[in-house]
């Protein structure tokens, strides 16, 4: 038990507890995921500190790398920005939950405090052949059957994931021709044959939230992604053009160059 480890622990542990508690209070699932990632990396560090470097690496690779990424994917699928309401809908559930959580913590801490542990042995001897090798000897020796079974379990789980998320095709798979004909048929309703225009590119702005200008100089609203429009995160063309003009005037003032933009369109806002 080196002093370094103690410092490491006392730095990491409170942070991990805070992060874990964050799981309870943050509104967005993404933030919760970030909290969990933090806890897991902290745990990985602690594993390494606890003479389990292999597990530490696996923790990072499997948990933070694979599992949490899977979580994030699903979050994106479900809607990354949806914020949860933290108001409780089941009557009394919050108090019950808090009380049970505190009670559980008290019981567990009490058990740990009551228990008498043998003097620590340490893993120097067991890890003499390096930790991964020692681990492998136990894993593939004593626990080889369990290891195989777990392998089968993983395959089964992967299959289960496939089956569960598999969508049965309800109709015939549309051919390219059919899709093209459907698009043409929808033209009268204002649909496009071509892909939607890309967002605008300006002298100082090149982002998803800036509408492009059409050939007639009018901003094209549908060049901004629909999600941004709905959320009201779209920037108006006027604002951008004003900023551009200011820039041009400033340049004019210094370089005496004045581009005339008399045909500036009336700004169009939502």
């Amino acid at each position: 038990m080196s002093g370094g480890e103690e410092v490491l622990f006392w730095v990491l542990a409170p942070l991990m507890v805070i992060a874990a508690a964050g799981l309870l209070v943050v509104r967005r699932a993404v933030h919760a995921a970030v909290c969990v990632v933090f806890v897991m990396i902290g745990l990985a560090v602690l594993y390494v500190a606890q003479e389990a470097p292999f597990l530490g690496i696996v923790q990072v690779v499997v948990y933070t790398g694979a599992v949490m990424m899977l979580f994030l994917f699903v979050l994106m699928l479900v809607g990354v920005d949806a914020a949860d309401s933290l108001t409780e809908t089941i009557r009394g559930q919050r108090w019950i939950g808090v009380l049970l959580g505190l009670g559980l913590a008290a019981v567990l801490l009490g058990v740990v405090a009551q228990a008498t542990f043998p003097p620590s042995v340490g893993l120097e001897q067991a890890n003499a052949v390096t930790n991964p090798v020692a681990l492998a000897r136990v894993l593939l020796g004593e626990y080889v059957v369990a290891m195989e079974v777990v392998g089968i379990l993983l395959v089964t789980a992967a299959l289960a994931g496939l089956v569960l998320t598999h969508r049965r095709r309800l109709g015939k798979k549309p051919t390219q021709r059919a899709l093209a004909e459907a698009k043409v048929a929808l033209l009268p309703t204002g649909r496009h044959l071509t892909p939607l225009p890309a967002p605008g590119v300006y002298a100082q702005n090149n982002a998803m939230d800036t509408p492009a200008l059409g050939p007639d100089g009018r901003p094209l609203d549908h060049s901004v992604p629909r999600v941004l429009r709905i959320r009201g995160q779209q920037r108006s063309a006027t604002e951008l053009l004003t900023a551009e003009e200011t820039l041009v005037e400033r340049r004019q003032g210094s370089d005496d160059v004045a581009p005339a933009r008399s045909d500036r369109p009336e700004e169009e806002t939502r």
Binding site: A13, A20, L46, L70, T89, Q93, S120, L123, L135
Partner: protein
């Protein structure tokens, strides 16, 4: 430093995970709480391995990780399926267990 502190930390993390399961409605967050609980046990296992000088604890932790990975696959698949059917990831909306 006493190794017991690791166990205290594991206990607190476990309790926090459990409380998450009880309090959060978003199924994905609930799932994260479960992962947190599993990780807390892993920490305890690793600590016990060190305490007793026996590498088996780490092997157990390893198994827990693998099983947790399998569980995550299936669990998330279920959440996705439910979300597709109900446009919601709230566990409270899935109360078909009643009656």
């Amino acid at each position: 430093m006493d190794l017991v502190n690791y166990l205290y930390l594991a206990s607190i993390l476990f309790a926090l995970g459990a409380t998450t399961v009880l309090l959060r409605r978003n199924a994905i967050v609930v799932f994260m709480g479960i992962e947190l609980m599993l990780n807390a046990t892993n920490l305890a296992l690793v600590t016990f391995a060190r305490m007793h000088g026996d590498i088996t604890g780490q092997v157990l932790a390893f198994f827990v990780m693998v099983v947790a990975a399998a569980e995550v696959v299936v669990g998330l698949a279920i959440i996705v399926t439910i979300f597709r059917a109900r446009r919601s990831a709230s566990v409270d909306d899935v109360n078909l267990l009643k009656s």
